[in-house]
Symmetry: C2
Subunit: 198 residues, 2 copies
DNA sequence: TGTTTTTTAATACACATGTATTATTAAGAA
DNA sequence: TTCTTAATAATACATGTGTATTAAAAAACA
């Protein structure tokens, strides 16, 4: 029987190499040769795991979403709305190096998804999932009467969603002007204003 | 004497062609050949106006910023804070086709500026100018005592800035889920909450 | 009309790219 | 150890790219 290597693990290793190239040189710098070199592998080897460049890119994008989802599923929710909301949002923002890498790579893929049909579906799906997640947070707050009386759940959801993503984009594109501590403080500031203490 | 053409006008025509290519195929689709073809011009002609591709890209990015600034400078401010804030923000969001084109192109350039030193400066400069603009709006509101007492001007500025840009990004990347009417409604919703009527 | 100068067009070249093909290597079971 | 098969490496090819060079065309003034 043949030499056995963990196929999925190898694909993740290559996708991680792709992430590094994206962060360093942008998505337009991701040639199959460069990713193979970054992974310390030959072109032919890469091709055993990804037959086309499109496959490599789609997998690399999907991996961002998967990693974030995996972390969120492992979170220790305690039933306190403010706490549970905070720990979810924390997984979505570039507050440490791991999350920062994901945010940078995700932004690059999101922009490309505008003109690449193969990536569009995942982009839309994740946007929808995030909206649904934020919506659940807001609905929970409303249900527990922890919000001001005059709020509109849908508007509040879209506002929170846009604020979080806006902060992520600002932090990724202008880290000198807005560091990770600061964006987290602004999220706290916002939550302070939509969650009332009764 | 030679044939006379308006040099600057020609450069804008080429930059507009570049915008169209960016919107259709992404920034990675912008080769000098494709832009020349899109402008109905030969490669050699393009080269008379932009010696390198970098020049073309830098000019095309700068033109986004210039166009928005020009519109803002022509606005009819009337001294009513809410009105004046609204008409400025309206120029920054993809509420019609012209502004939508600018938003899409600007986002593409912003992401590339992360890995392209020639574009980084403008990206940062515009981010700073926007922050300063939003800061002036908030300061004006505070000065006129139109805000709740417990607000923090810096935090409110960053919140508004991130919210606006977050909505722009959402509308550009997911127009099916969030159209221009909706993002404007959310801006209004936010302003309703930071501007009190006394 | 003829002259001058800019604009335009055409071609060339070196290089990077995605993909395909072929030979070589390595690992595990008989 | 030997054999089988997957994994790896090397090479090839057509295409698109940025840039440079050279020839042709067009326009305005004398």
């Amino acid at each position: 029987m043949p030499k056995i290597v963990n196929h999925d693990q190898r694909r993740e290793l290559l996708a991680e190499a792709a992430w590094r190239v994206i962060r360093r040189e942008g998505l337009e710098g991701v040639s199959v040769r460069r990713v193979a070199e970054e992974a310390g592998m030959s072109l032919g080897s890469l091709r055993h795991y990804f037959v086309t460049q499109s496959e490599l890119l789609a997998f690399s994008m999907q991996m961002v979403s998967d990693r974030v989802n995996q972390r969120i599923m492992k979170l220790a929710f305690n039933g306190n709305p403010r706490h549970d909301i905070e720990i979810v949002i924390r997984e979505l923002m570039p507050l440490d190096e791991e999350r920062r890498a994901e945010a940078e790579v995700w932004l690059a893929f999101s922009v490309r998804a505008q003109v690449d049909a193969a990536l569009k579906e995942l982009s839309q799906e994740v946007h929808g999932s995030l909206y649904d997640g934020f919506r659940k947070m807001i609905d929970m707050l409303v249900k527990m009467k922890l919000t001001p009386e005059d709020i509109d759940a849908e508007q509040e959801t879209k506002r929170l969603h846009a604020l979080v993503d806006g902060l992520v984009v600002h932090c990724v594109l202008n880290p000198e002007r807005l560091d990770s501590d600061e964006i987290w403080r602004i999220v706290m500031y916002h939550l302070d204003r939509i969650i009332v203490n009764r």
